[in-house]
């Protein structure tokens, strides 16, 4: 009983903090756009963790689908129709479709081999956006477009000029995705994924079509990560090939591990720490990369369970 109450309390605190963030962020030295970035990265890390933490499959190529979502959204606004919801829809469709196709090629692979192939495949999309500069803007990125205010008929949401409003716009999609993830993970399908994570061979002997489940989990995970990607492009009013680079995939993984990949909220905690540190350190020094590298090493050596993993241990003992 106590455990359930703890869980409820934790959920309530998380949502309360997220809902009120624009009001207290500047008290602790933050700003609204930083909050928006945390939400986007948290969504991406939680999406990755759907696969990593709850299916036990390590993908190191999620930046590709994040970036495809971003480019899909940006190019829709720039070339097709100036509509924000449509941009998100197209971005998500592009990212998810690409993942579904690549997924069929890789579901049979396991462990580090899976990681290696996902990261290598991510590079295809990186080079396409990098080289096809007449359409994608190449290395300079896709500029000269902005997110578009949304007309609801009775009122107009000016998400372009009002950063607080755009924060809540992102939070809306974040909440929607999180709710969907929760439902999926609590369903028999989600329980089956956990079974595969814990003992793949036994799951197979029980007659579970393991390959199909891993393919589904990979595609669902990339569906969520492409939502994050589309929002990321809208947040910056800009997108460049670095949104697909494998370094970003590594960042998603480290966020999940840093927060605790066996906890539902772990990646959110990891994303908060990571993005805030990144913002702070890169304003202090040129050598941000060494710092982040050191962070990777320290986390792996001393912090492998992540923040929430440690908290949970403390509570249990």
């Amino acid at each position: 009983m106590g455990q359930i109450n703890n869980k409820l309390a934790a959920n309530a605190i998380v949502w309360l903090l997220l809902l009120t963030a624009p009001f207290w962020m500047h008290w602790v030295g933050g700003y609204t756009e930083l909050g928006s970035r945390v939400l986007v990265m948290a969504l991406a890390a939680m999406a990755l963790n759907f696969l990593l933490g709850f299916t036990g499959v390590l993908s190191f190529g999620h930046a590709a689908y994040f970036g495809l979502g971003a480019y899909g959204a940006a190019m829709t606004i720039k070339y097709l129709v100036p509509s924000t919801p449509l941009a998100i829809l197209v971005g998500v469709l592009v990212g998810t479709a690409a993942a579904a196709i690549i997924g069929t090629l890789i579901v049979k692979l396991r462990g580090v081999y899976f990681a290696m192939v996902t990261i290598a495949f991510g590079q295809v999309f990186y080079f396409i956006t990098f080289r096809w500069n007449t359409v994608t803007g190449g290395d300079d990125g896709l500029t000269n477009w902005t997110r578009v205010p949304i007309d609801l008929g009775f009122t107009k949401l000016d998400i372009l000029h009002n950063p607080e409003l755009f924060y809540y716009f992102i939070l809306f999609f974040f909440a929607l995705s999180v709710a969907l993830m929760t439902i999926l993970l609590r369903s028999p399908f989600g329980r089956t994924l956990l079974a595969i994570r814990e003992n793949e061979r036994r799951a197979r002997f029980l007659g579970i079509p393991v390959e199909r489940h891993i393919w589904l989990s990979f595609t669902i995970s990339c569906f969520f990560v492409s939502i994050a990607g589309a929002l990321y492009a809208l947040l910056n009013n800009f997108v460049d090939p670095r949104a697909l680079y494998w370094g970003l995939s590594g960042n998603f993984v480290i966020m999940a591990v840093l927060g605790g990949m066996r906890s539902f909220w772990g990646p959110l905690v990891g994303a908060v720490i990571f993005v805030v540190l990144q913002d702070y350190v890169s304003s202090m020094t040129q050598n941000w990369e060494s710092f982040i590298g050191l962070l990777f090493v320290l986390i792996v050596l001393f912090f492998p369970r992540g923040v929430l993993g440690i908290v949970r241990r403390k509570v249990a003992s």
Binding site: R110, F121, F127, N287, E289, S290, V300
Partner: protein, 288 residues
């Protein structure tokens, strides 16, 4: 036309030789220790920069001899201090650790030697074209192909003819049994890691003379090396060699007909291989 095709094939072969050298080292480490060494490209860059520092003192040939050993030594230290702690834990962690090291190496070399590529002196007589008709056949390029050939032959000699090599091969198949038979597996893994890093260092010394030496040199070679391993077949060193040369030539030829796809083509090859033959060209069934 023939000349142009030959030129691109030869160019691809040289690039492929670098991929193969990198990928062989990666494969050695992956097969025995189950670690994907993301920092391999960083070690390659260190090899190149060490040679750059050494050349004024010991000349190109001296640097070629010493720099790879120094790189391997750094590799041994990294293995003993950091990577060794992660054996037997989830492979995710060694992946993240070497990923972090890759960041540190790239940023570190940039911090010390600057982001611009540094001038790298190869002996003049090596840079002369060997023939007027085939202008691209400089001594250096031919020399590189020969040297890579020697290195690969040496590696296979070590693996097949020495006690260390036999233990490495046996450990790849069943490390536990090798350990029970009285081989010190910790030392075996360390030496194997050093051997892999030696190859990266050697590739760095050679590649610097051809591609120019800048902090990003290693990270631009590491992804194709992954592809070489996957195409050739995980667990098979001859496969890795074949994969490296194959994708090198493929990307060389694509440069000629459709230059903007010269990078993407190797990933498309990888996709086809995974579709038709998921274990890779020379990979064993059911190992991964």
């Amino acid at each position: 036309m023939t000349q142009l095709i030959l030129f691109n094939v030869f160019n691809g072969l040289i690039i492929g030789a670098f991929y193969a050298l990198m990928a062989l080292g990666l494969s050695l480490i992956l097969n025995l220790s189950g670690v994907i060494n993301f920092a391999h490209g960083g070690f390659l860059a260190i090899g190149g920069y060490l040679a750059y520092v050494l050349i004024p003192f010991v000349g190109f040939w001296g640097a070629l001899l010493i720099a790879p050993f120094l790189t391997a030594f750094i590799g041994l230290v990294v293995e003993r201090v950091l990577i060794r702690r992660l054996y037997g834990r989830d492979q995710l962690y060694s992946l993240l650790l070497t990923f972090g090291l890759a960041y540190i190496f790239e940023d570190g070399t940039r911090f010390i030697w600057g982001a611009q590529s540094v001038p790298y002196q190869v002996p003049d007589w090596l840079m002369q074209p060997l023939s007027v008709e085939y202008f691209f056949l400089t001594g250096y390029r031919v020399f590189m192909v020969i040297l890579v050939g020697v290195a690969v032959a040496g590696l296979f000699l070590i693996l097949n003819r020495t006690r260390l090599g036999m233990r490495i091969r046996a450990g790849t198949l069943d490390l536990e049994t090798v350990s029970v038979l009285g081989v010190n597996v910790r030392i075996l893994r360390t030496l194997n890691f050093g051997l892999g890093i030696y190859l990266a260092g050697l590739a760095g010394v050679l590649a610097a003379g051809m591609l120019g030496l800048s902090p990003t040199i290693g990270n631009s070679l590491i992804m194709p090396s992954f592809v070489a391993i996957i195409v050739g077949g995980l667990g098979s060193l001859p496969g890795t060699l074949l994969g490296g040369l194959l994708i090198g030539v493929a990307s060389g030829l694509t440069t000629m007909f459709f230059p903007s796809a010269s990078e993407a083509v190797i990933y498309i090859m990888m996709g086809i291989v995974l579709l038709v033959r998921p274990r890779g060209l020379l990979g064993e069934e059911g190992r991964f």
